[in-house]
Amino acid sequence: MLELDAVDAGYGGFQALFGVSMRVNAGEAVAVIGANGAGKTTLLRAISGLIRPTAGSMVMEGRDLVRMPAHRIVETGIAHVPESRRLFPRLTVLDNLRMGAFTPAARAGFARQLDYVYALFPRLKEREGQLAGTLSGGEQQMCAIARALMSRPKLVLLDEPSMGLAPVIVAQVFDLVRRIRTEGYTVLIVEQNVRQVLKVVDRAYLLEVGRIKAAGAAAELAASDDIRKAYMGL
């Protein structure tokens, strides 16, 4: 579905990704794990066009993402739930969801998709008229995921969904991730919480200082001594 080949990317003069190659197949859940500053967020930002790769190729179902304007990428079926959620705090939950369905194609199916998202997250329907900034952390993450689903994506990019949340809520957030998997979405998730995320995904890539250092089935990586020592505190 999504294929990256030898991608370099960074900010200004600072290069954060070096020749990253990876793929996500339809129906899979894939994680990118690594320490703070490894380039995980940069990777997702490059895929959704918020920053432009300086080299390499990115293809989504045969369509070249590198030369596509950032605001068109969502139309290829990629929805990005950004780091720290980035809801519009002074818009209502409903208006946030409406923004998720901004593209003409998504607008056409707004009512049906809204029903679907509310069925998935009934809590959001209760909070519909509330300003997003007043939601609890867990509800905000729910709203951010729901906003992404409003574009009717095929691939959902999740950037550190557990960040800044209390441990109880973190478990709930990983439940949310499991749920959108069972709904048939393909998922690419970036996490520092390696232990938890490896339980949710099929495969994972290990990113270290901007380079892919390991790749494999989630269970395999979870069993690797190096990863257990370096990232799981075992």
Binding site: V74, R90, R98
Partner: protein
């Protein structure tokens, strides 16, 4: 001092109310642009001036007033979009002082250009709409129409911002510019649309003002400072705050003028403004809302 609670005092208050409609409309465009793009169009009143000249020319050229007004609105809407493309976009990510300076440059450019093109004569359309009498009070019809159109426009804009995808996106981009591409929104286009709407509001204000005021190249100096004062008092970028502030300021002007002298009305209004800003630097109702 000649301040009695008589019918003339009431007339002054009501005239202040009518003036507030126009000032609120003027503040609205500026607040919209600031609230969304984070740039202050110092030259806002000069865009109104351009619209007034445009309407004057169209009308004198034989167009009926409503058509001339429409031409003026479209003209200034385009001017707003051009201003954004040529002047604002290049300085969008530079410090705010640069943005103030370039739009300040546009202010003087437009004034000078208007003086060269049209001279310093006072012009007007020569439309007389008469007035309405109520008890012993008189209200200019032009002011009443202005008030009605201004309120209707503000309501329409409010509905647009609340009910449409484009309006929701305009409110959203004011809160988080960076992630807009993730929503499939082309930020550059949205800024252009907002600038055109801001310009269109200035054009509409121009169409209302030509019914009441003479047209001359420096008319922006008469209204520009007032518009800023209202926007800052209401909280820059806060459209509802600006609306309320317009009513407060126009009462100071109207009642001050009635009790003392016309110039005193403005002096009192600005004095109140300074005091209010000492006490609440963020404006009476806070920033962007």
């Amino acid at each position: 001092m000649d301040c009695q609670l008589d019918i003339f005092f009431l007339e002054a208050i009501l005239n202040g109310l009518l003036l507030a409609g126009l000032l609120a409309l003027l503040a609205l465009g500026l607040n919209l642009v600031f609230g969304v793009i984070d740039v202050v169009w110092i030259c806002y009143a000069e865009l109104v001036m351009v619209g007034m000249y445009g309407i004057n020319h169209a009308y004198k050229g034989g167009a009926p007033f409503l058509l001339a007004a429409l031409i003026g609105i479209v003209l200034v809407a385009i001017a707003g979009a051009v201003l954004h493309l040529l002047v604002i976009r290049p300085v969008l990510d530079t410090p705010p002082i640069n943005q103030l300076l370039v739009t300040g440059g546009v202010l003087f450019f437009l004034q000078a250009a208007a003086t060269m093109a049209f001279g310093i004569d006072f012009r007007n359309l020569g439309i007389r709409l008469g007035s309405v009498s109520l008890f012993d009070m008189n209200f200019a019809m032009a002011r009443i129409i202005t008030f009605g159109v201004a309120l209707a426009t503000m309501l329409a804009l409010w509905l647009f911002l609340r009910r449409t995808y484009l309006g929701t996106a305009i409110r959203a981009i004011a809160q988080d510019r960076q992630i807009m591409p993730l929503m499939g929104v082309d930020s550059r286009r949205l800024y252009l649309v907002t600038s055109a709407i801001g310009g269109g509001l200035a054009g509409l204000a121009a169409a209302l003002m030509v019914l009441q005021y003479d047209i001359y190249p420096q008319i922006g100096l008469q209204f520009g400072p007032l518009i800023f004062m209202i926007c800052v008092l209401g909280g820059l970028g806060n459209m509802i705050g600006g609306f309320i502030a317009a009513f407060i300021i126009s009462q100071f002007i109207a009642v001050g003028s009635s009790c003392f002298h016309t110039e005193w009305g403005y002096a009192v209004a600005f004095l109140f403004f300074m005091l209010a800003i000492f006490i609440r630097p963020q404006g009476l109702f806070g920033g962007k809302g």
